[in-house]
């Protein structure tokens, strides 16, 4: 080893899973190095073992997992051999970790200042005054405005981005040599994500910290990685510089993953001219009322939303969390009653219909939800879930089952799955089942509410293809709710950009992507991670 000593050197790490798991080892013969001042991205789909690797480094493996062989050298010291007291010393001082969910990673009943200062209290002998100064310093370093005010705030008073900055501040306050970031931006909006990524890169350059960055998002990889390790089923399939991995991937798996990432450039689409199946006029939803006794706090979740979707057309609503895009979807599906405005399904205005008169129209609008693990009743067979709707609308059990069987073939599942329970399926398969359930109603309008957001990128590509397939085949009007610009670019004919309950821009996808008019739209596009990398077009993509 002629070069500088690596901050982190993992050699042949194997972590065993308990008996009865779907494979023997969570992590198998993983070798990886992080040099000073280097960002190494570990990228992989769910279950690839990337988080287990991080936990092993921090000595935070769950009790049922055990590091069986290999070594993890942190600045030359094997953390697998360290006892718990030594590990406690190392955490915070030599290595630190930030997590995906900044709300649950912070203690809600402690102020921000106390939580950062706790690290100093444990590891240094500084007095209270000095600690406060150090905390203010690090808060300034992570670019938090008005640290003097925020230091005494509680986590719930902060935004998601601010919380993640606090997490980073607490992790870096003692200048650790290694920072492990486990999906730190996954729960954040794109604009916030862009800021946090910028911050991580900047701090890491200035302090020379080595960063092990765990992510599933190739956009993020393209933004910040120096080197990339691709993991699949507990093994590293490929490791190399960012350029090598993104431009000239060698492993088939990497090629498939990168090929599955939707490109930001929308394909050419012919405008759809079918009859309008769904239109909203002045659709508004307001939460909270001006009560007699309460001081009225009113949230305008959606304001005067006008959207029209033709048959055979996909219209996307994009926006960040809290923009009101899901509120619109739920109003259209009439899971909630809008405060004002019209929702026309064909010719009928269903906006204010009471449940009894609404029911006949329900079959025309179907919805596919985000979380495939919760959208099917775990106690009922897949078949029972699918035939429920058609039977409500007068089909006999046999007819409904026959339809369900044919739909299973259509969504690419075997017909005998109808007798099984949802827990026997993977997330992607469940989403197919949810789509089949919606299609069983023979709807005119299909709402996809973040329907592919919880899926791994390779599965996401397949489900998107299926959605596009059924749209064409059944001339469906699809209302596609998403926060992901890449997905919107690939599947939507037209998009509407929402911010704080208002549609700020609406038009043909290709035109909006080519020349966004509204400042917010431009900000969104600028923040999209990896916007300069050409995904989806890698030669030989599977």
């Amino acid at each position: 080893m002629g070069k500088v000593q690596a901050i982190l050197a993992i050699h042949d790490l194997t972590v065993t899973l308990p008996k009865g798991a779907d494979r023997a080892n969570a992590v198998e013969k993983v070798s990886l190095e992080v040099q000073p001042g280097e960002i190494v991205c570990v990228v992989g789909e769910s279950g690839s073992g990337k988080s287990v690797t991080a936990q092993a480094i921090m000595g935070l493996l769950p009790a049922e997992l055990a590091a069986r062989s290999g070594s993890i050298l942190l600045e030359g010291e094997d953390v697998l051999k360290a006892d718990s007291a030594r590990l406690r010393d190392l955490r915070g001082t030599r290595m630190a970790m930030i997590f995906q969910e900044p709300m649950t990673a912070l203690n809600p009943v402690m102020t921000i200042g106390e939580q950062i200062s706790e690290v100093l209290e444990i590891h240094t002998g500084l007095g209270a005054g000095e600690r406060r100064l150090r905390v203010l310093d690090i808060m300034r370093a992570v670019r938090l405005r008005e640290p003097e005010r925020l230091i005494d705030a509680y986590p719930h008073q902060l935004s998601g981005g601010q919380r993640q900055r606090i997490m980073i501040a607490a992790a870096l306050v003692l200048d650790p040599a290694l920072l492990i970031a486990d999906e730190p931006t996954t729960a954040l909006d794109v604009t916030t994500q862009a800021e946090i990524l910028k911050l991580v890169r900047e701090l890491q350059q200035r302090r020379g910290t080595g960063v092990l960055f765990i992510t599933h998002d190739f956009g993020v990889v393209a933004e910040i990685a120096h080197r990339v390790a691709v993991m699949q089923s507990g093994r590293i399939v490929e490791i190399g510089s960012r350029e090598e991995i993104l431009r000239r991937p060698r492993a088939d798996y990497t090629r498939m993953l990168i090929g599955s990432v939707p490109a930001l450039k929308p394909p050419v689409r012919t405008p759809k001219t079918g009859p309008v199946a769904l239109s909203t006029h002045g659709l508004s939803k307001t939460y909270g009322t001006l009560g007699l006794l309460r001081s009225g706090r009113v949230v305008r979740a959606a304001q005067s939303v006008d959207i029209a979707v033709r048959r055979g057309e996909t219209v996307g609503i994009v926006g960040e969390s809290g923009s009101g895009k899901s509120t619109v979807a739920r109003c259209v599906a009439r899971l909630i009653t809008p405060t004002a405005g019209e929702i026309r399904i064909g010719e009928v205005d269903v906006a204010q219909l009471p449940e009894r008169r609404l029911r006949p129209h329900r079959r025309n609008v179907q919805i596919v939800f985000q979380d495939p693990y919760r959208s099917l009743n775990p106690r009922r067979t897949v078949g029972a879930s699918i035939v429920e709707g058609p039977i409500n609308f007068g089909l006999s059990r046999e007819q409904a089952l026959d339809r369900a069987r044919r739909l299973m073939t259509l969504v690419g599942l075997a017909q005998d799955v109808l007798d099984r329970y949802p827990h026997q399926f993977s997330g992607g398969q469940r989403q197919r089942i949810a789509i089949a359930r919606a299609l069983a109603m023979e709807p005119q309008v299909l709402i996809a509410d973040e329907a592919v957001s919880a899926l791994d990128v390779s599965v996401q590509a397949q489900v998107l293809k299926l959605l596009d397939d059924v749209r064409r085949r059944f001339e469906l009007a699809v209302l596609f709710i998403t926060h992901d610009l890449r997905v919107a670019a690939q599947i939507c004919d037209r998009i509407a950009v929402m911010q704080q309950g208002v549609i700020v821009e609406q038009g043909v996808t290709a035109e909006i992507f080519a020349a966004p008019q509204h400042p917010y739209t431009r900000a969104l596009f600028d923040a999209a991670p990896g916007k300069d990398a050409a995904f989806g077009s890698v030669a030989g993509a599977a």
Binding site: L335, R362, Q370, D371, S375, S385, E388, G389, Q424
Partner: protein
């Protein structure tokens, strides 16, 4: 029969139900609790066959005998034989062993009826309160009102309004138990109705009653079984307290509470009057609570952590 049909047959019936049954059978507190409850129930049920005397039979000569006292008894056909008062006799000469055994009947009947009625009524009210939003406020305020009345006081009130008896006691105990069930069911309904699979059922046009029975109700079963066992245990206790205070079951009927009330005055001289029914009462309540605890762990681990 085709081979392809086999795997589909194998997964018939919810697999998780079989798993929880197995988990429950492996849980020691479920097994021990269930065995004790079963034993007490059998003792009560088979009391006439277990060498007992009629529990209300008074014998002024044999008053306040210590456990193990013997006397001669004449059968209906005139033959005499020796009878051992295993637990002694009370101040009216009644055999305490017989009374304790027969008393198990009343205690268990009250425990089970109260549990079944309060769970059934509470379930219906809770489902309505949780799902029909505009009724929620008024229903829950009534329930809060009921909860604010001390159970024993309410029971004494109800019993004193009507004639003391089994039904009056059951009603008196059921009323304060209902709000607890309602609260439990309502909170489950409130969280389940937000589940996407319930919303999916709404969008496929499932009528509300069917929606509640098919998608919401099954989620309440496990917590309600657990709540039911705790209600059962507390009903047995309250019945004993009411009988002890003399406002419950009429004193000639043997219940554990009545036996203890009867023995109270001579407690210092003849502690056995209170000891045996007290022991049974403690054992029954402990066993039922163990059963409930174990079932809670087996049926719903998350529920166990929450409580």
């Amino acid at each position: 029969m085709s081979i392809e049909a086999l795997p589909a047959e194998l997964v018939e019936g919810p697999p998780q139900r079989r798993r929880t049954l197995r988990l429950a059978a492996r849980n020691p507190s479920v097994v021990i609790g269930a065995l004790i409850v079963l034993a007490l129930a059998l003792l009560g049920l088979l009391a006439p066959l277990l060498d007992t005397l009629p529990p209300s039979e008074i014998n002024p000569v044999f008053r306040n005998k210590k456990p193990g006292a013997e006397r001669l008894i004449r059968d209906s056909n005139g033959t005499e034989h020796k009878y051992v008062h295993r637990f002694g006799t009370d101040s009216l000469g009644r055999d305490i062993y017989s009374r304790v055994l027969y008393g198990a009947r009343v205690s268990l009947i009250i425990g089970i009826t109260v549990a079944v009625i309060s769970v059934a009524v509470g379930l219906v009210i809770g489902l309505i309160a949780g799902y029909v939003r505009w009724l929620d406020g008024s229903i829950m305020r009534v329930m809060d009102g009921l909860m604010a009345i001390p159970a024993i006081l309410l029971a004494m009130g109800v019993v004193s309004l009507s004639r003391a008896g089994l039904i009056a006691v059951v009603i008196a105990i059921v009323i304060p138990e209902i709000p607890r069930v309602v609260r439990l069911v309502r909170s489950i309904v409130l969280s389940i109705r937000e589940e996407p699979y319930v919303e999916a059922a709404i969008t496929v046009g499932t009528p509300t009653p069917l929606l509640l029975i098919r998608h919401v109700l099954p989620n309440t079963v496990a917590p309600l079984i657990v709540q039911g066992t705790f209600t059962c245990a507390s009903a047995i206790l309250i019945e004993a307290v009411l009988s002890f205070l003399g406002v419950g079951i009429p004193p000639e009927t043997p219940t554990w509470g009545n036996i203890m009330a009867e023995g109270r005055s001579l407690f210092r001289v003849y502690p056995h009057n209170i000891f045996y029914p007290g022991l049974c009462l403690a054992l029954a309540v402990l066993a039922i609570n163990m059963l409930g605890d174990g079932l809670r762990d087996a049926l719903d681990p998350r529920f166990a952590k929450r409580v």
